[in-house]
């Protein structure tokens, strides 16, 4: 038997090089058909965020920004990038009462803020409102993500309104938006498609919302955190098991592997060519709003004097607290799924 001779190139030839400076690379980005060193990868990320902010007129240089911080990679990366670009950005963390996961997440959010001398406000759903997400899931009979998302939107909006912020920023990235777009397209939910924009203007007591990471992928945001030395919660939320958006992300990633750039062309192409056609639908879908008699927040709940959050808090706070494990053990198929509303 002939033994094949192992031929190795020189160590120098083995080094993967940065497309920009030819120094050793730390990341490959197939959609750009290139590798980048740490410095030029960060430059690319800053450029993409700058472009998103400018193209979609997200905020002005002197706007006060409130970043919705979860302790995960995206929200911490968004906060870091905005501060890097010179914006005035404070953070708000909401403790959701999801056992150890919430404790760890809060720790990462606090450490990030302390290390950088940034202002972080903390609201506790159990401490300040008398219920947690597992118990809210029991009260609604829906997937935990439904009550969780609604509670977070309500509290971020309220905080921005009360404290005079111009805009609420969330860390939704390209993969998040492509997955939501995929779900909304599968159902042809025209109303949700019309509202799936990187900026939602302030209206009727709701603050302006912006997503400056929409041009950057999930992998790029995780890489940003590693390169910048940002510690974040790597574990998935235990309540998110069976979340259909995770399935949509996997499906899109399997296409992306074979055809790099697909997620970006799908979502950014939607914004450029499809969203303008849906603008009329967006306008007509804006419901008449009234004020919640309990908290004063705007509410579109038909025939209700109180907003959805206050009604949920009422129901959930009367139940015995539900352990996280009880919700995790419940099969997702037994619960009514929430629709893929834009977040």
């Amino acid at each position: 038997m002939t033994k094949s001779k192992s031929v190795r190139s020189s160590p120098e030839a083995d080094v993967v090089k940065c497309r920009t400076c030819r120094e050793p690379a730390i990341i490959d980005l197939p959609r750009h058909n290139a590798n980048f060193c740490a410095e030029h990868f960060q430059e690319l990320c800053r450029r993409q965020v700058r472009k998103a902010i400018d193209d979609f007129e997200m905020f002005a240089p002197d706007d006060r920004i409130l970043v919705a911080v979860s302790g995960g990679k995206d929200s911490l990366a968004a906060w870091d990038l905005l501060v890097e670009l010179g914006y005035r950005a404070d953070g708000l963390y909401i403790g959701l009462g999801i056992g150890e996961y919430s404790h760890e997440s809060e720790g990462f959010a606090r450490s990030f803020a302390e290390q950088r001398g940034l202002d972080l406000r903390v609201i506790s759903l159990p401490g300040d409102h008398g219920f947690d997400v597992p118990t809210a899931a029991r009260a609604t009979g829906r997937v935990p993500c439904s009550a969780c998302g609604m509670s977070k939107r309500h509290l971020f909006d309220q905080a921005a309104r009360d404290d005079g912020y111009d805009v609420v920023v969330t860390g939704h990235n390209l993969d998040d938006e492509a997955a939501v777009l995929f779900g909304n397209s599968l159902r042809w939910d025209v109303e949700y498609l019309a509202r799936q924009l990187p900026v939602l203007p302030a209206r009727d007591g709701f603050p302006k919302k912006a997503k400056p990471l929409v041009r950057l992928s999930e992998r790029e945001m995780a890489a940003w955190c590693v390169v910048r030395g940002i510690d974040y919660i790597v574990d998935e939320c235990p309540m998110a098991a069976g979340n259909k958006h995770l399935g949509y992300k996997e499906a899109l990633n399997s296409i992306e592997e074979k055809s790099p750039g697909t997620k970006a062309s799908y979502y950014l192409g939607f914004l450029e060519r499809m969203a303008p056609l849906l603008a009329g639908v967006h306008q007509s879908a804006v419901a008449a709003l009234s004020r919640c008699i309990s908290c004063g927040s705007p509410t579109g709940s038909q025939g209700e004097e109180r907003c959805a959050f206050c009604r949920l808090a009422d129901r959930a706070s009367k139940l015995d607290p539900v352990p996280v494990e009880m919700v995790m053990k419940k099969s997702p198929s037994r619960r009514r799924a929430s629709k893929g509303a834009p977040r």
Partner: protein, 64 residues
């Protein structure tokens, strides 16, 4: 090499050298969904991992 995997957290041993993309393919992990980290530094897809390296393969989908 020692390989730390996450969600759930576990450690496996791989014998011999590998390029990053080959290791991910061998473990059935999508490149678009993972980062490979050695001594706190990212390693690109064509980067080579030594037999005595200790690495982490971190899924990029995390949080809620």
């Amino acid at each position: 090499m020692k390989v730390l995997l996450r969600n759930p957290r576990r450690e496996i041993e791989i014998v011999g050298r590998r390029r990053v993309h080959a290791l991910l393919a061998e473990l059935g992990l999508a490149r678009e969904g993972h980062l490979v980290i050695r001594n706190g530094t990212l390693v690109p897809g064509d980067g080579e991992l030594d037999a005595d390296d200790e690495i982490e393969i971190r899924p990029v989908v995390s949080g809620g």
